[in-house]
């Protein structure tokens, strides 16, 4: 049963990842990644990490990737046009990616294939995670929250136009007009 689920969802994750690579349009890549994340969430469940599994859905798939999709929509990102490309990436890329995958996989497979399966019942985690977060990992937690705050402020600063503050228009309006103008541009 476990193996079957692992094969199904592991395969799904891999397929999603490959699809991500193959697809031309960014929106398809993004949706492929959502698929990967969903599959990974199931794998997390298999590994007894309920909390992380649903946080994965909630935060990763439900928030971060929504943001990606949103930006893709906003910028009306089309498959990128052919351009002067990197020769180095063309020659160096395949061996690098391939070797990285092969070596890493071989490495972990050879080192960890003897680790016994964990038969312990997964314990109820939310409380344990909360305890660890606010005791053992309090400092990292606070630091990441500061990082997050800075990130949000930075994002607002970067994304807002210089003249936007002067106009003091609701942000949504501009986003809409922008999206419309891009659609027009794409159509023309």
């Amino acid at each position: 049963m476990q193996l079957a689920l692992f094969i199904i969802f592991g395969g799904l994750a891999l397929a999603g990842a490959i699809n991500l690579l193959v697809q031309k349009a960014p929106i398809h890549s993004a949706l492929s990644l959502v698929l990967v994340m969903g599959a990974l969430a199931v794998l997390f469940l298999l590994l007894g990490a309920e909390f992380i599994a649903f946080i994965q859905i909630l935060v990763y798939a439900g928030a971060i990737m929504v943001l990606f999709v949103f930006v893709i929509m906003l910028l009306n990102a089309q498959p990128s046009e052919p351009s002067r490309s990197s020769r180095i990436a063309r020659w160096l890329g395949p061996p690098v990616a391939g070797l990285l995958g092969i070596i890493l996989a071989a490495l972990v497979a050879s080192r960890y294939h003897r680790v016994p399966a964990n038969m312990g019942q997964p314990m109820f985690q939310v409380e344990a995670i909360g305890n660890a977060l606010f005791h053992q990992y309090l400092l990292p937690f606070e630091v990441t929250s500061v990082l997050f705050l800075v990130g949000v402020a930075g994002a607002v600063m970067l994304a807002s136009r210089p003249d936007e503050a002067a106009q003091n228009a609701p942000a949504g309006h501009l986003a809409e007009t922008e999206a419309i103008s891009r659609k027009k541009g794409a159509g023309a």
Partner: protein, 103 residues
């Protein structure tokens, strides 16, 4: 038949490698960014797997995933804002055309 730790690790290694490949081959700024997220996801899987198999359900690995997610969220916010700014200024998403520092 049970699933062993090595299976999960191989899977995550492959996901990571695919992320690297996406990073190297995709010309689209957003897709490159998506590839980074894929790499992070691959790593997250190793965290959870290690935590499950090696530490007998310890939650430390899960916490690392939690932190990775926070960082990823912040990174996505800033990164996407940068992408928007870039597109406004240069009107392209093609990563190969972002070479203003050259020449």
């Amino acid at each position: 038949m049970v699933v062993s730790l090595a299976d999960y690790l191989v899977l995550s290694a492959l996901l990571f490698a695919l992320g690297v490949a996406g990073f190297l081959f995709k010309k689209d700024l957003i897709t490159v960014f998506i590839s980074i997220e894929l790499m992070l996801n691959g790593v997250n899987l190793t965290f959870v797997a290690f935590s499950h198999y090696l530490r007998q359900n310890a939650i430390d690995g899960n916490l690392f995933v939690f932190f990775v997610m926070v960082v990823a969220a912040a990174e996505a916010a800033v990164g996407l804002a940068i992408i928007i700014a870039v597109v406004r200024n240069r009107n392209t998403l093609n990563i190969d055309k972002m070479d203003l520092m050259k020449n």
